[in-house]
């Protein structure tokens, strides 16, 4: 177990990168503390798998260093780093039994059979696969195969970090939930640092204590699931997390006041610095309500999500979503929208530009 530090990390798949767009990873500085459960969340192609492969040593970064407990491991081969990785598709050794699969990493490192046996038994019990140990691994169901590949990662008692690269992609939906809670439980039992890569916000938010959101090779925000939901640092995070995502409404700013279609909108607090560039108001649908007064809009769509309704309304040409409990208005109805001021934020060029009001 170890603390992992990424310092000034950059990576490009081109031999001579010139422009920033040549980089799959742009300038990453991160600390992962010992024993933490992290998620790397982002859309496909945002560089999260690249980052993972750099940590595991399958890729050597173009620039920057990786430290495990302060020790530079940038040039070290994967098997020397003492890490474990679980892949998108379960990797098992078909011709071996489940027992031999689990024992494989230990035997490769020359442990004696007694140690191997006790470790394999302990891990098998933890994963609830003890009754399958004598079976051929090839015949297992996908979720059990994925458990075995997880087990191969956990079987070494001294792994620095266990990494999961979208491990639930091929698992049936009803087993996904089970396996996810198993993972969470495992994390609490083995106390290893775990990094979970996914593009699924539910998976990330349920697994991790800290979520790292990435976009286009950059870290956009790091925070607890609640922080990401409540105060997205970037409109991308607002969009990406939450269902439906945050409303992002282009607006004007004059004299420190945000104006939407000529009407002033109260923000959570004062605007930092000068609001130059593209200015947008960000508010989650959960904090938009329908009232007697407010911004006038026309209802364009009503969706019943079971627990609540999502009303989409047209406000000066942009669509605003609102989460409503109770009876929704009819399609085409004229409504007035109210934004909860302490949840209404201004974003300049995508980045948050308001400070919350004190007190």
């Amino acid at each position: 177990m170890a603390k992992i530090t990424l310092s000034n990390l950059r990576h490009s798949y081109y031999p001579n990168p010139s422009s920033p767009s040549d980089y799959a990873l742009k300038e990453i500085d991160l600390d992962w503390s010992d024993g933490g459960a992290y998620a790397l969340l982002g859309p496909s192609g945002c560089g999260k798998s690249t980052l993972l492969n750099i940590i595991s040593g399958l890729l050597v970064p173009s620039e920057g260093r990786i430290l495990f407990d302060g020790q530079d491991v940038t040039e070290l081969a994967p098997d020397k780093r003492n890490i474990a990785q679980v892949f998108q598709f379960p990797v098992i050794y078909d011709t071996m039994s489940v027992y031999d699969n689990l024992a494989f990493p230990l035997r490769n490192r020359g442990r004696d059979e007694d140690t191997v046996r006790s470790r394999v038994m302990a891990i098998a019990e933890m994963l609830e696969v003890t009754d399958m140990l004598d079976q051929k691994a090839a015949g297992l169901s996908p979720d059990n195969k994925q458990k075995i590949s997880m087990g191969r990662g956990l079987v070494r008692e001294d792994v620095n970090v266990v990494m999961f690269d979208e491990p639930l992609t091929v698992i049936d939906p009803h087993l996904k939930w089970k396996l996810r809670s198993k993972l969470k439980e495992l994390h609490q039992r083995v106390k290893a640092t775990m990094i979970y890569v996914t593009h699924d916000q539910t998976e990330a938010l349920t697994f991790a204590d800290q979520v790292v959101v990435m976009q286009l090779g950059e870290v956009v925000q790091i925070g607890t699931p609640v922080e990401l939901f409540e105060r997205p640092a970037h409109t991308f995070v607002g969009h990406f997390i939450g269902s439906p995502g945050m409303n992002v409404l282009p607006c004007e700013v004059s004299a420190g006041q945000a104006m939407l279609g000529g009407q002033p909108v109260a923000l959570e607090g004062p605007i930092q610095g000068e609001a130059k560039g593209q200015t947008e108001i960000g508010i989650r649908p959960e904090f938009v309500s329908l009232a007697e007064t407010g911004l006038p809009a026309t209802v364009t769509k009503v969706s019943d999500l079971g627990r609540h309704m999502v009303v989409e309304a047209d406000l000066n040409g942009t669509t605003v979503s609102a989460v409503i409990n109770g009876t929704p208005p009819e399609k085409g109805a004229q409504v007035h929208l109210q934004f909860r001021p302490d949840q209404t934020r201004l974003y300049v060029d995508g980045w948050i530009a308001t400070n919350p009001q004190e007190g």
Partner: protein, 287 residues
């Protein structure tokens, strides 16, 4: 009640007719010959299983069969490991992939009798490139028309040259179908190169290798054209493989009855070995 749709038979029918004319009917005439004696003019005498008995007890058949098994065994033991080794060392991506694949496929594109003729000229002691080099540059006495060992070395080399590519291409197809994650996982698990081969590459190649061995067995066991053109079965009878011997009996001596019986025995052996091999190799997959 479940109605059965029998329309599928219409689609199979043309193939059945084709197979009947090019395999079943000729085969039945062979069966017909194998139990009778004929002196021409469509006059036949019932012979029972005499020809089979005669063939099975003949030393000539035994030694041809022995040579045949030796030939097949030798080419398999060379071509399979060599093919795997070449496939493993071929690039997996990039510019050189199509180049390698085309170079590999080339020998297989050459007609069999041309292969025989090529190697015949290639190995002629006085004018062949290889023959001249061996005899006049290295000073090795090499003449496959005189020396049985030289003849064997030549037909084995020729077959390896001609057919190793098949094993290479099949193994390569098996190799490239292995996802990168397997190699990455193996790296992380600290597996040695040998372990990667033994536990990842070989199991993933198993199916295609089974096919490769089966094809090479059948082809080499039935081989005729190349050694016939190259050595004609000589010197003496030293490279007279089963098929060459069969043609000698049938067309050289015109002993149609014994030749027919021998064909059937030959066929049965090929079928039996193929079936045994395939059953053994795929036995695990069924469970």
């Amino acid at each position: 009640m479940k109605t059965e749709n029998n329309k599928g038979w219409f689609f199979v029918a043309p193939v059945l007719v084709l197979v009947a004319f090019n395999a079943l009917i000729p085969m039945m005439t062979v069966v017909n010959y194998s139990v009778q004696e004929t002196f021409g003019d469509n006059v036949f005498f019932w012979q029972g299983l005499d020809w089979f008995q005669q063939i099975l007890r003949s030393d000539r058949f035994h030694s041809a069969l022995g040579r045949q098994f030796l030939f097949t065994f030798l080419i398999l033991i060379i071509e399979i490991p060599l093919g795997i080794a070449i496939a493993l060392s071929m690039p997996r991506k990039g510019f050189w992939v199509p180049v390698c694949l085309v170079l590999m496929a080339l020998p297989m594109l050459i007609p069999w009798n041309v292969v025989g003729a090529m190697w015949n000229i290639f190995t002629l002691p006085d004018i062949g490139l290889l023959g001249y080099f061996l005899n006049h540059v290295l000073g090795i006495n090499y003449d496959m028309t005189q020396d049985p060992l030289a003849a064997w070395v030549t037909i084995i080399t020729m077959d390896v040259w001609h057919w190793t590519s098949l094993v290479v291409l099949l193994s390569y197809a098996g190799l490239v179908s292995i996802p990168d994650a397997y190699y990455q996982a193996a790296k992380i698990d600290g597996a040695s190169n040998w372990s990667v081969f033994r536990y990842i590459q070989l199991p993933k190649m198993k199916t295609v290798l089974t096919i490769a061995i089966l094809l090479r067995f059948m082809d080499s066991f039935n081989i005729y054209t190349e050694p016939f053109v190259l050595t004609g079965g000589g010197p003496g009878n030293s490279t007279t493989l089963l098929s060459i011997d069969l043609v000698k009996i049938a067309l050289g001596q015109f002993d149609l009855g014994p030749a027919a019986a021998m064909s059937l025995i030959y066929f049965a052996i090929t079928l039996l070995v193929s079936w045994l091999f395939y059953t053994l190799m795929t036995k695990d997959d069924l469970n």
